[in-house]
C-alpha cells in the first residue's frame, strides 16, 4: 500500500519542483533584461528580429489558412442555421465570442507552439549538447541575454501580431461566407461590429501576452535543461510542445473563469 503512495508522492514532488524551476527560470529571464550590457543590446536585437522573422512572418500563411478556413466554415453554418431560426443577429456574438475571443488566440497559440516552440527547444537543446552554451558563458555572454530574452520577447510580439492577423482574416473570411449564403456585407459588418466591444480586444491582448510568455519560456526552459546527450534533444522538443499545449489550454480555461 505504501509503495504506490510513495511513487505518487515522488511524482508530485518532481512536478512541483519542475514548476518551481520553471518559475525561477522565467523570473531570471525577465530580470536579465536589467543586466543586459549596452553593447549586448545590439546583438540581442538582431536575434530578436531573426526570431520575429521565423516565428511571426513565416507563420503568416499558416495563420491565414487556419483562420480563413475556420471562420468560413463556422460562419457558413451559422448563417444557414441561425437564418432558419430567424436569429442571424447572434452571428455577431458567435464571431466575437467564439472566434475573436476564444478560438483565435487559442488556435494561433497552438500553431506557434507547434511550429516555433519545438524549434526553440530543439535549437537550444542542440546549443547545449554542442557545448555552445558553455562557450557563451566562457566568453562572458549570459545565455539568458543571448538565447532566452530575445526569444521570449519575440514570442510575445509574434503571438500578439498573429492573433490580430487571425482576427482580421476571420472577419474577412466570415464576410465571404456570409455573402456566399445570401447576407449583404453591410448587414454582416453591422452585426459583427455591433457585437465587438473594447473588452473583447483587451481580452485578446492579455491572452496574447500570456500565450507568448508560455511559448517563449517553456521551450527555452526545456531546451536548456538537457545535459550532454544528443538523444535528449527530441525529448526536450516533445516535452516543450506538450507542456506548452497543456499550459495554453489551462490558462485559456483560467481566462474564461476570471475574465
Amino acid at each position: 500500500m505504501r509503495a504506490p503512495i510513495a511513487i505518487a508522492g515522488r511524482e508530485v514532488t518532481r512536478r512541483v519542483s519542475t514548476l518551481g524551476a520553471l518559475a525561477r527560470f522565467f523570473w531570471d529571464a525577465l530580470g536579465s533584461f536589467a543586466t543586459l550590457p549596452q553593447a549586448g543590446r545590439r546583438v540581442a536585437q538582431r536575434v530578436f528580429l531573426n526570431q520575429i522573422w521565423f516565428t511571426a512572418l513565416q507563420a503568416v500563411p499558416l495563420v491565414i489558412v487556419l483562420s480563413g478556413l475556420l471562420s468560413f466554415l463556422v460562419i457558413s453554418q451559422a448563417v444557414r442555421e441561425l437564418g432558419r431560426l430567424g436569429a442571424t443577429e447572434l452571428l455577431g456574438t458567435l464571431m466575437v465570442v467564439a472566434i475573436v475571443r476564444e478560438l483565435g488566440p487559442l488556435l494561433t497559440a497552438l500553431a506557434v507552439a507547434g511550429r516555433s516552440g519545438t524549434a526553440i527547444a530543439a535549437e537550444l537543446a542542440t546549443n547545449k549538447v554542442m557545448g555552445e552554451v558553455d562557450a557563451l558563458e566562457g566568453m562572458g555572454i549570459d545565455p539568458l541575454h543571448y538565447l532566452v530574452l530575445p526569444r521570449l520577447g519575440a514570442a510575445v510580439v509574434s503571438v500578439f501580431c498573429l492573433i490580430v492577423l487571425f482576427d482580421a482574416v476571420a472577419i474577412v473570411a466570415g464576410l465571404t461566407a456570409a455573402a456566399a449564403n445570401g447576407m449583404s456585407p453591410d448587414r454582416y459588418f453591422d452585426i459583427v461590429l455591433r457585437s465587438l466591444a473594447f473588452g473583447d480586444a483587451a481580452v485578446s491582448i492579455v491572452k496574447s501576452v500570456a500565450f507568448g510568455v508560455i511559448i517563449g519560456t517553456l521551450p527555452s526552459f526545456h531546451g536548456l535543461r538537457v545535459r550532454r546527450a544528443a538523444t535528449e534533444v527530441p525529448i526536450a522538443a516533445s516535452r516543450s510542445v506538450v507542456g506548452s499545449i497543456v499550459a495554453i489550454f489551462l490558462s485559456s480555461a483560467l481566462f474564461v473563469a476570471v475574465l
Partner: protein, 223 residues
C-alpha cells in the same frame, strides 16, 4: 600586474579528485596534460568559474571569480580569451559572426571598427575565403582556427585553450600557438597562454615555458 592564473590547492571535481597547485606566470605559455579521466578537461572551466572545485581557490587575474556575483563574473570573463574543447562555435552563425560575437557583445566598439578588426584576424588565420561559411560547412582545422580567432578577437591578456591541437598537424598547431601568444614581448610571449589537453604535439614542446602532467591524482612538473 597580478598573476594571470593561480590554482591554490584546488581539488578538481573529477572521480579521483586531482589536486592542483600551480601558477601561470605572466607572458608564459603553460601546458597541463593528462589522460581523459584525470580532470584535465575541467581545468579551463574551473579557471573561468564555470565549474566549482571541491576544495581550494582559483585566482583569475588576481580575482576569485567564484566569489563574484553572476553579472560581475560574466563581465570579468570578457577579459579572458577562451577556446573550449570541441571549438564551441555557434552553428547558426557564420565563422565571421562567431568571431564578431564577443566584440559585439562585450565591447563598445563601432560596427566599422569591429569589421576592420575581424578582417585582420580572419586574414591572419587564413579564414578570409570561408568567413561567410557556417561551422558545419568547413573542415575541423578551419573550425579550430575560427574558435582561436574568436578567443583572441578582443586581444585578451590571458588565453585559455582546451585541447586546441587535437587532430591538427604539428605545423598547424605551432602556427596556432604563435597566434595565441600574439607575438613576443620582453618577458616572453605578449599574451599569457594556458593550455590543457591530453598531450602536447612534440614540435610545440620547445615553445612551451612550463609543462605539467597529471599522474595519478597529482600534478607533476615535467622537465
Amino acid at each position: 600586474m597580478p598573476t594571470p592564473l593561480e590554482f591554490d590547492d584546488v581539488v578538481l571535481p573529477n572521480a579521483s579528485g586531482t589536486v592542483c597547485h600551480f601558477t601561470v606566470p605572466p607572458h608564459q605559455v603553460v601546458v597541463i596534460s593528462g589522460p581523459e579521466d584525470s580532470g584535465v578537461g575541467q581545468l579551463g572551466r574551473v579557471a573561468l568559474g564555470l565549474e566549482r572545485p571541491r576544495r581550494g581557490r582559483v585566482l583569475l587575474l588576481g580575482e576569485d571569480i567564484s566569489a563574484l556575483p553572476r553579472a560581475a563574473a560574466l563581465a570579468f570573463r570578457r577579459r579572458v580569451g577562451y577556446l573550449p574543447a570541441g571549438d564551441g562555435l555557434l552553428q547558426n552563425l557564420s565563422l565571421h559572426d562567431n568571431v564578431a560575437l564577443p566584440l559585439r557583445f562585450g565591447t563598445g566598439l563601432a560596427e566599422r571598427d569591429i569589421e576592420g578588426r575581424i578582417r585582420i584576424i580572419l586574414t591572419m588565420l587564413h579564414l578570409s575565403d570561408v568567413g561567410l561559411a557556417r561551422p558545419a560547412q568547413v573542415n575541423e582545422e578551419q573550425r579550430r582556427r575560427a574558435a582561436l580567432a574568436r578567443a583572441v578577437a578582443f586581444d585578451p591578456e590571458l588565453v585559455i585553450l582546451e585541447q586546441p591541437f587535437d587532430g591538427l598537424t604539428d605545423r598547424v598547431a605551432a602556427e596556432l600557438l604563435e597566434v595565441a601568444r600574439g607575438g613576443v614581448s620582453a618577458g616572453g610571449s605578449r599574451r599569457t597562454v594556458f593550455i590543457t589537453g591530453h598531450d602536447v604535439p612534440h614540435l610545440l614542446r620547445q615553445r612551451v615555458d612550463l609543462r605539467y602532467r597529471v599522474v595519478g591524482a597529482k600534478l607533476v612538473r615535467e622537465a
